[in-house]
């Protein structure tokens, strides 16, 4: 479970997240929606401390994952990022072979045994329904795959380090509708095992796959509730305006 209390984030002078309080439940899909620049990607990058890479970022408040404060001063950053994996907007596969892409994570975690690595790679590819399609092609360059398969591969690459939480930052925005549908199916399948937080511009997507939805505006979390509630009977007028397409 992810829990934030009075979370504030500043980029230098810019107040990017304002007093965000939310609870994300385990093993469900939570979608964050809102217009561009509302801070939903920033919020996502709080959960694996990716914002630390940007200079001038300051955070106040608490972020707990499974009751552990992830912003403690002596926290193991790499262990956190292993536990909280991230899928990016563009399917950024490494210019390496398919096998080496998936085995990269386990390798940096010290697994060198070839049989173990093969097993991990196979299981991870199986987890994203790629194993059969790519049988015997694992030595091929990952960049030769279609965009959709590349994005699946990126997810497989994450699964290989056995995360608990999957953060997805508009994972389908570079894909066509058919590929998007396949990735969505995959996400629904994956929620049995993982806690998934997805940031999306696509409200239909949020409605289709998410169990809970958070609506953000100008750095504030306006509303957070069950998907059906948000889309049929939102409590806040701003949410209602946004989902009915009156702005954003």
């Amino acid at each position: 479970m992810i829990k934030t209390t009075n979370l504030n984030l500043f980029y230098k002078d810019f107040h990017a997240l304002k007093n965000v309080n939310l609870r994300i439940k385990e093993k469900v899909i939570t979608a964050m929606i809102g217009p561009s620049g509302c801070g939903k990607s920033t919020l996502l990058r709080v959960f694996n401390r990716m914002n630390d890479l940007v200079e001038g970022t300051r955070i106040t408040g608490d972020v707990l994952i499974n009751d552990k404060n992830i912003y403690c001063p002596d926290c193991d950053l790499t262990a956190l990022r292993k536990k909280v994996g991230m899928v990016f907007q563009r399917p950024n596969v490494f210019p390496l072979s398919i096998f080496d892409n998936v085995s990269y994570g386990p390798k940096v975690w010290g697994i060198t045994n070839k049989t173990t690595l093969s097993e991990i790679v196979e299981n991870s590819l199986k987890g994203v329904n790629l194993l059969e399609e790519l049988e015997g092609q694992l030595k091929q360059p990952a960049l030769s795959l279609s965009l959709e398969k590349q994005q699946r591969l990126c997810i497989a690459r994450l699964l290989a380090v056995e995360p608990e939480v999957l953060l997805m930052d508009e994972p389908c925005s570079a894909l066509d509708p058919i590929s998007t549908a396949k990735i969505e199916e995959l996400m629904v399948e994956l929620k049995n095992k993982y806690t998934i937080v997805i940031v999306t511009h696509n409200m239909q997507q949020a409605a289709r796959i998410a169990d809970e939805v958070g609506f953000m505006l100008l750095g504030e979390l306006i509303e957070f509730d069950k998907t059906s509630k948000i889309f049929t009977n939102p409590a806040d007028e701003k949410t209602a305006n946004y989902i009915s397409g009156r702005f954003g």
């Binding site: 790499t78 262990a79 990022r81 994996g85 490494f94 072979s97 990269y104 940096v108 990126c154 380090v161």
Partner: protein
């Protein structure tokens, strides 16, 4: 007033650019053909494998071939790790800022410095102060300093062009900074880094002024890193300058050009093999 049709402008632009390209290639081809025409008849097995006799008027150029390769190899072995290391430091560890700009500016200045200045420095510092004498060691170290800026700058550009997303993904998988650099950033930047190294080899192998001061001009076969040697470029220079033998001078130049072409050819083949593997 008359108006030029857009199509005519296109044709003119195309022709001018084509002409400029042809001029560039033509100059290159002319130089190479000119040297080859004068030097090719000197080429023979004995020219390549015999020691030099009578100051170069007779015999072959084997000691100079060996000397050239040793000096160049030594300089590359020294300069590549230092250059790539600095480039990594500059791009991955300094966050932009003043230090990086100052070092980059310094590297650019060094790259534009006349090579004879490096020669003089090498002579005073390595040959005299450190008592290395005229030797492959002094020559190699001097050349290493000379080509360092080239390697740093090209490696820096290559590393900077690695998409930041790769680094983020590596971190997001729990990779540390060093894992990310060694396993992701460097392999991705390798073709660019290699280009810098090739440029460095080209500069080092054909250098005259910097090595004549530091490696000397001995015609003996080098026996160790402390032997003085006369590189092909220096040999060519002395043969021509002192009027010892123009045919032998052209022969030497031909061999030097062939060696450079060979090194470039092999390096580019290696690079393509690497690139085509994953792209």
């Amino acid at each position: 007033m008359f108006k030029i049709k857009p199509k005519t402008t296109q044709v003119i632009a195309y022709s001018v650019l084509l002409a400029l390209t042809v001029i560039t290639i033509a100059v290159l081809v002319f130089i190479i053909l000119f040297i080859f025409k004068n030097g090719i008849r000197e080429l023979s097995w004995s020219f390549l494998t015999q020691p030099t006799k009578e100051m170069g008027k007779e015999g072959g150029i084997l000691p100079s071939i060996v000397g050239t390769l040793l000096v160049t190899l030594f300089s590359i072995i020294i300069a590549t790790p230092i250059g790539v290391g600095s480039a990594i430091y500059l791009t991955e560890y300094t966050k932009g800022g003043a230090i990086r700009r100052i070092i980059s500016f310094g590297a650019d200045c060094l790259a534009g410095m006349p090579s004879i200045i490096f020669g003089l420095f090498g002579f005073i510092f390595f040959v005299i102060m450190l008592k290395m004498g005229w030797s492959i060691l002094s020559g190699g170290l001097t050349l290493a300093i000379m080509i360092l800026p080239t390697i740093i700058r090209t490696s820096e550009e290559a590393i900077k062009s690695v998409p930041n997303a790769y680094r983020e993904i590596s971190y997001s998988l729990g990779g540390g900074k060093l894992d990310t650099i060694i396993k992701i950033v460097l392999p991705t930047a390798l073709p660019g880094i290699l280009t810098g190294v090739i440029l460095g080899i080209g500069r080092a192998i054909s250098e005259t002024a910097a090595v004549i001061f530091t490696a000397g001009s001995s015609l003996n076969m080098p026996t160790s890193l402390f032997s003085s040697t006369r590189t092909l470029a220096v040999h060519f220079y002395i043969l021509a300058r002192e009027g010892i033998s123009m045919p032998k001078a052209y022969g030497t130049a031909t061999v030097l050009i062939i060696i450079i072409l060979l090194i470039n050819f092999i390096a580019y083949r290696l690079m393509h093999k690497f690139i085509s593997k994953y792209y």
